[in-house]
């Protein structure tokens, strides 16, 4: 099998799930004729038809509302946000209607809301968002943010089959920059399971999405200085794989958390709190964070580079941590 991109892996996941299960439909802006703004749904309309690949008006709340209504009759809609930034437009529909349904009135909503997220592609302040924490704070939704083509395909399939609303963030920087050979046939990557991307004993670097690759780059540099970092890819942010996090930190006794989301209120703070609650006595140093600046995502390349974490920042912070 020829290696496929992260983007193609997502397309394959949708294609295969739609081919296997007529209850899977796709709804969103320009997902049909145009095949999606990034071509993630290219060819789906031709294969599955108008009833299953639904182009909508520019109405994010209506897209989410309709997907939810469709799920009440047993369908498994995939709703696309053309850019994940626009998920803010349907915040109410997602957090008040979709997320609360199962708890309040026993109504599961098996929908997947997916779309391109993340920066580093000069998308500017409205096309680069990492909105995971708005939703992590909302009980009732699962949140997935893969870093590899293999995971993107397997996690998307698992998300479609899940009975809960799943937010599936696709890092657009990775869309065409990563290629991987995928296994033939059907497979899933279960939600809620982290992956160890590199083993190490001196400190743990926790990350997810595109920053996993940046963390691995930093880990290579650290290794040259004799610091063996263990890099863990969270893959799913909700549910969070606490077991994998604690297991690694109990081994290395030091933890650095890296994410592309802005620092204040980011996932790193939540994980730090978990470590203090559950692994305080295992820690030999402070829990440190490398994250984006607490600003909107700026447009100019010089500014965006300053905004984003990079391997140098991770390297420097990890070295500081290793000294404890």
């Amino acid at each position: 099998m020829a290696p496929v991109t992260y983007l193609e892996a997502i397309r394959q996941a949708m294609f295969e799930e739609m081919a296997a299960d007529p209850s899977v439909v796709l709804i969103g802006e320009d997902v049909g004729v145009y095949g999606g703004a990034f071509k993630t749904s290219e060819g789906l309309l031709e294969k599955f038809g108008w009833e299953r690949v639904i182009d909508t008006p520019i109405s994010e709340s209506a897209i989410i509302g309709a997907a939810c209504g469709m799920s009440y009759l047993g369908l498994r809609p995939i709703a696309e946000m053309q850019f994940i930034d626009f998920i803010a437009c349907c915040f109410n529909q997602l957090t008040n209607f979709v997320a609360k349904g199962h708890y309040l009135w026993n109504a599961p909503a098996p929908i997947v809301v997916r779309g391109p997220a993340g920066g580093g592609v000069r998308g500017g302040p409205f096309h680069s968002a990492n909105p995971e924490m708005y939703f992590l704070h909302t009980p009732g939704m699962k949140i997935v943010y893969p870093s590899t083509p293999y995971d993107a395909k397997g996690l998307l399939k698992a998300s479609i089959r899940d009975n809960n609303p799943v937010l599936f963030f696709e890092h657009k920087f990775l869309y065409r920059r990563l290629k991987e050979e995928l296994p033939e046939g059907d497979y899933i990557v279960p939600l809620g399971k982290a992956a160890v991307r590199r083993e190490g004993r001196h400190l743990t670097i926790l990350s997810y999405a595109a920053m996993v690759h940046t963390a691995l780059e930093a880990a290579d540099a650290l290794a040259k200085e004799g610091i063996e970092a263990e890099v863990i890819d969270l893959r799913t942010l909700m549910p969070l794989d606490e077991e994998a996090i604690l297991q690694s930190v109990k081994k290395t006794n030091k933890c650095l958390i890296v994410h592309e989301d802005t620092k204040t209120g980011g996932l790193a703070g939540e994980i730090a709190a978990i470590l203090f609650e559950k692994a305080f006595h295992d820690l030999d140093g402070p829990v440190l964070r490398v994250a984006s600046l607490d600003t909107p995502v700026p447009y100019a390349p010089t500014l965006e580079e300053a905004f984003l974490p990079n391997a140098q920042k991770i390297f420097a912070t990890a070295k500081e941590l290793a000294r404890f």
Partner: protein, 425 residues
């Protein structure tokens, strides 16, 4: 085409006339019982009244069939009763009991039933149900169920953004969806005249190119026959339909609100037009109801509600540990999610589902309105079946469309129209 006098055109059976009466009386008695419970401090939180609006809830829901779906709003207790919800569910909901449909997780009319009665629970944010019920209608069509989805919105809720998004999506999808715009003239303390610069809220339908009706919301027969026609048209594939029912909210926003902002003469005008009294007069004149029959109905309701209230009052509150349960569906053991197919599966699977890409879907963009001819004569995307002898539209159809729109700037609107309607030659 506003229904001028649907009463004369469509006779009801004696049973239908009496059903409407029974449910309106039941609606009012259920709410009166809850008002007493509220005063005894047995209701948790607020209590909302639909006093004087019973004809809207009952008359519209009565037009639905068992297979149809509905999502009531806060003042649609009558619709719940018509669809088959037992009064005990309404009492236990308001008392937050463990025996309630939400087991105490939510109150008031915020509950639903996906399996049997096909009711979607409302939330407090207004308008959200419109796209949700559009999705229900879309899924119903996809599964071949021939269902109609109905929800209600107030004069106040009709100004939300999601009202527009939802109704526009419903129109563009030609969804079998009926929206009851229950104009009770007050959004909390703000009169409709200060919310919307329209004489008739039904005019909102014109913006979506969908049909609409205006009906006297205190005349249950008019409401029912209008809703029946709308439901039939939606089921036949005519697309969404909006019914504005003009009525009046006789109590405050909720029990705490004495509604002193309502002018006395307005209140008096509508109190004289009480929908139940009007209907009793109608039934008596037509000899469909006499004192004996009325008494029998009253006794039937009293007996039922006594037992239902007893049940609710004697029910336990949910145990505290229940608070932590149920945020996520845990899988098939929790909910087995299975659509009910009423059409051949192969129709939606390749190769039969395979299509050539064209720009528009059947019947889209005709721009029909209730009084037809109100729209500008711009047709974009009127369906032309793709002819075999024509080359398929370019894969990059979008940018091609954009270019041609840019070329003919002089005639902005028609140029845009032709660009969008790429498949038309």
């Amino acid at each position: 085409m506003p229904a001028s006098d649907p009463r004369s055109s469509a006779p009801l059976s004696r049973q239908q006339y009496l059903d409407l009466y029974y449910f309106m009386r039941l609606n009012r008695e259920v709410e009166d019982t809850m008002t007493r419970l509220f005063r005894q401090n047995k209701i948790v939180g607020g209590l909302y009244s639909s006093l004087g609006q019973e004809a809207v809830s009952v008359g519209t829901a009565y037009a639905l069939e068992k297979r149809d779906w509905m999502a009531p709003m806060i003042r649609n207790i009558g619709a719940l009763l018509v669809k088959g919800v037992p009064p005990r569910d309404i009492f236990t909901q308001h008392m937050a009991k463990y025996t309630s449909p939400t087991k105490g997780k939510d109150g008031t009319s915020h509950f639903g039933d996906l399996e049997n009665l096909h009711i979607v629970s409302p939330i407090s944010m207004l308008g959200d149900l419109i796209p949700v019920m559009t999705g229900v209608a879309m899924a119903g069509r996809y599964l071949g169920q021939k269902l109609v989805a109905m929800t209600w919105i107030g004069d106040g809720g009709s100004s939300t953004g999601v009202f527009h998004e939802g109704l526009n999506l419903a129109a563009s999808q030609k969804a079998s969806f009926v929206l009851i715009l229950e104009n009770n003239q007050w959004a909390y303390s703000t009169p409709v005249r200060r919310q919307v610069p329209l004489e008739n809220l039904a005019d909102r339908a014109k913006a979506y190119g969908i049909a609409s009706y205006i009906v006297d919301g205190n005349d249950v027969v008019a409401v029912y026959t209008t809703a029946r026609e709308a439901v039939a048209r939606a089921r036949a594939g005519e697309g969404p339909i909006l019914i504005e029912a003009k009525t009046f909210r006789r109590r405050g926003h909720a029990q705490h609100d004495p509604a002193e902002y309502v002018p006395a003469e307005q209140r008096e005008f509508w109190e004289k037009r009480d929908p139940i009294l009007l209907y009793e007069k109608f039934l008596t004149e037509r000899k469909l109801l006499d004192a004996k029959g009325k008494k029998a109905i009253e006794e039937r309701i009293a007996t039922l509600l006594e037992a239902e209230r007893e049940f609710a009052e004697n029910s336990p509150m949910p145990p505290p540990e229940f608070a932590a349960e149920g945020v996520y569906c845990t899988g098939d053991n929790c909910h087995k999610i299975q659509p009910r197919w009423e059409r051949p599966l192969e129709e939606v699977m390749p190769p039969k589902s395979s299509v050539e890409a064209v720009w528009t879907v059947a019947g889209f963009g005709r721009g029909k309105t209730s009084d037809s001819g109100g729209n500008a004569p711009i047709h974009f995307g009127d369906t032309q079946p793709h002819r075999a002898d024509e080359p398929p539209p370019p894969a990059d159809a979008k940018s091609a469309g954009g270019k041609s729109a840019g070329k003919s700037k002089a005639k902005a609107a028609p140029a845009k129209a032709s660009a969008r309607g790429k498949a038309r030659r």
